[in-house]
Symmetry: C3
Subunit: 316 residues, 3 copies
């Protein structure tokens, strides 16, 4: 699809310039063949620095669009980004892709489904009712237990174990909302990358990125019923205990421990070797490594213990 | 089954009158061919107004049964309602139903199972390992990702997307308990209705109603690992963020937002355009529209922020 | 595998004595053909009383190993226990086992998978996309809804109902961590036993034991999205409401009620007839029967109500 078509779909004012658009992307990551967008005045700096070929903007922001980018001027850029995202969504399955490739020594249940374009490595165990989507890649020696679903384009590394009924790569929870309170889906055209030697429990969910990748780094341990939102980066050897919920775009350093039923707000970064006690609710980024936190609102664990003492006295 | 048989099964005192019983229902919704029950003295008014053909009651409540209804007198009406509910449960699958109907343009994986009596609309994508139960209905253009399970009699609208490993229509959590602490299942003979343009994430669960329907209205957005209990009504364009838990018989107006890991107690109603912050715990109905709440116990968000300040000072 | 081979795998100092090792087990439960381990100085008493044939220990603990056991001396006993556990893990499926046996009157969907060595009782309903693993046993009259996964060696009793997308017997969340922060899997070579007349909701997860069994006693009711960790014992007729999280090695008496989103820390015991309100967080064992608790930290419900009053006044 070329830029003129894009502009037409979202009914954008559009001065000049045209090119074949390869995909949509964030201001930071977009290249000269990609379309980006700006939804919020606080991203002025990012507009100016963007290498995007075109940027969807409100007319008030047009002046910040660098000369290397075409401005697509619309009333509601976030909504129109959602509108346009649909046109860049690949088909769920694609008959034109080649037959899936299964590596030597791998055992694939006849009741599993490996979509066209997928590649499964050597010595894997792919059990009944597993689904591996189009162009998905699974490394060597990996075990996928029954009813694991890997969506298209996602990658699971070598020496991984994913337990039953877990989903890798379902759509991140993204939508634009208009003044009438109606929602429009932002197609999640990124993927999930699970590195090597990762174990994920049963009925956990790892959402695919809107743009780019949700990343689970090597050695991570994820328990059951854990939610990992789109565009998260979970650092090496981090541990997410059962029912933890990691909101979108959270970035963790290595060896972070998130206790059971703990959660983070979105767009935070958590320093390496941080430990969050069970039920912790993280609403601000953690800069300093190696500390232990608890509570919601979050505080250092030793303060939390002190607070509990005060509360106990309050009751008496 | 006729009323005499019903009375015999639950060993009820039974004066006179007989009719073919079509189903069981609540006092409010039951019609003259249906059997209802009263488990609690506070429902006296509902008994008097009921149009049920028969009502299971304790002898102390018999006097309130209107002349249009037959009284089935038992020691423990709630327990006996549970006993009888089993006899009105349809079979899980039914060979006597007609072949499932699949609309034009729909792609159904050979590894999906569409039960007899089910109807799938046009241009749907029904992926591997999906199950669509007896008499279930799926509208047009709807996508069911792998391992989605739709139980019998449930309806999913048009333009819906349901992500992997999600369950629509599993039994609500209903049982009666006797003095020995033993539980007896209340068969959940209602269904779930999901209206048009709804998206539901992965590994979420929407329970079928005990009587009537659990209702997800059009435009709703449900994230991953969300629980919706039996007989809930989720208003148009409402948003349930990951790991939220909505207890049975909660009614929400339109555009309610339930933050991540938030929850409601049962039998509440929440006004339109209410926003609940992450981790909110709702224990009372919300009458006024458009407010934002937080905390458990719940308070207005601005009070909650103030409280956090006080608590912070308490620590020092 | 004999003890010499075990010692070689973990590079243990090893004086004398050899025997065919049947499995690994805890200090308390190990017999003379089994290898155990001690990871923590507080278990001195358990070492002295152990009937294990061999015990993996640090050199500082060697003196406590009874004369009936061979000491396998290593630098990091917990890590080496993890190393060795892998060698006692049975294969996921096993072609040498006999054809699965299906009892009279049971209906098994052709789209279900029953592994070799499994036994399904009479009059069961095993729906599409169910997986019943090697040597697993299902009693009579039990219903397994679509995409239920029962891992190998697990037992589900008679008259049980397990709803869609639920997992019984996935690996408990067990691993050892070394000084570099790397994790090594402790293979979970135990199983899950679900007794008779148990109902489990959709997308719940019950983990298999590291050693021995995770036990769900008869009459238990488990709602949707509930996590039961490895080696838990859930007492008869107990009720676990949606999104509750029961950490590993929790032992509950009969008729315990865990409210929605409640949780326990690990290794606790909870007295019979205890009720935990929604969101309760249990961090200490409960000795006295029949009480009602709430809050996190946990307190008696009446105190919690009082505390909420105090907090309300704090805001004003």
């Amino acid at each position: 699809m070329d830029l003129r078509e894009c502009a037409k779909i979202i009914n954008a004012e559009f001065d000049d310039g045209n090119f074949e658009v390869t995909k949509m992307n964030t201001l930071k990551d977009a290249t000269s063949s990609e379309v980006s967008f700006v939804a919020n005045a606080k991203y002025v700096k990012d507009i100016q620095d963007s290498k995007a070929g075109a940027i969807i903007v409100h007319k008030d922001m047009r002046e910040y669009v660098p000369s290397t980018a075409v401005a697509l001027v619309v009333e509601n850029p976030y909504w129109e980004m959602a509108t346009l995202s649909k046109y860049f969504a690949p088909p769920i399955e694609d008959a034109s892709l080649s037959e899936p490739k299964i590596g030597e020594g791998s055992v694939v249940s006849p009741k599993a489904e490996i979509a066209r374009g997928a590649v499964v490595g050597k010595n894997c165990t792919i059990m009944a009712h597993v689904y591996v989507g189009a162009n998905a890649v699974v490394g060597d020696n990996t075990i996928l237990y029954p009813s694991v679903t890997i969506y298209r384009d996602c990658k699971v590394g070598s020496d991984c174990i994913i337990h039953a009924n877990t989903t890798i790569g379902s759509d991140g929870f993204g939508f634009a909302t208009n003044k009438l309170g109606e929602h429009r889906k932002i197609y999640q055209n990124g993927n999930v990358v699970v590195e090597d030697n990762v174990e994920i429990g049963s009925s956990s969910t790892v959402d695919r990125a809107a743009f780019g990748s949700t990343l689970i780094k090597h050695g991570v341990r994820i328990d059951n019923l854990v939610q990992v939102g789109h565009n998260c980066i979970i650092g090496e050897h981090s541990v997410l205990v059962a029912q933890a919920g990691i909101s979108g775009s959270t970035t963790m350093g290595r060896n972070v421990v998130m206790g059971g039923q703990s959660a983070t707000a979105g767009h935070l970064s958590i320093a390496p070797f941080t430990t969050m006690a069970a039920r912790s609710g993280v609403t601000k980024s953690i800069q300093e490594s190696g500390l232990t936190f608890a509570g919601f609102p979050l505080m250092e664990h030793r303060l939390w213990l002190k607070l509990q003492g005060k509360i106990a006295r309050l009751i008496k």
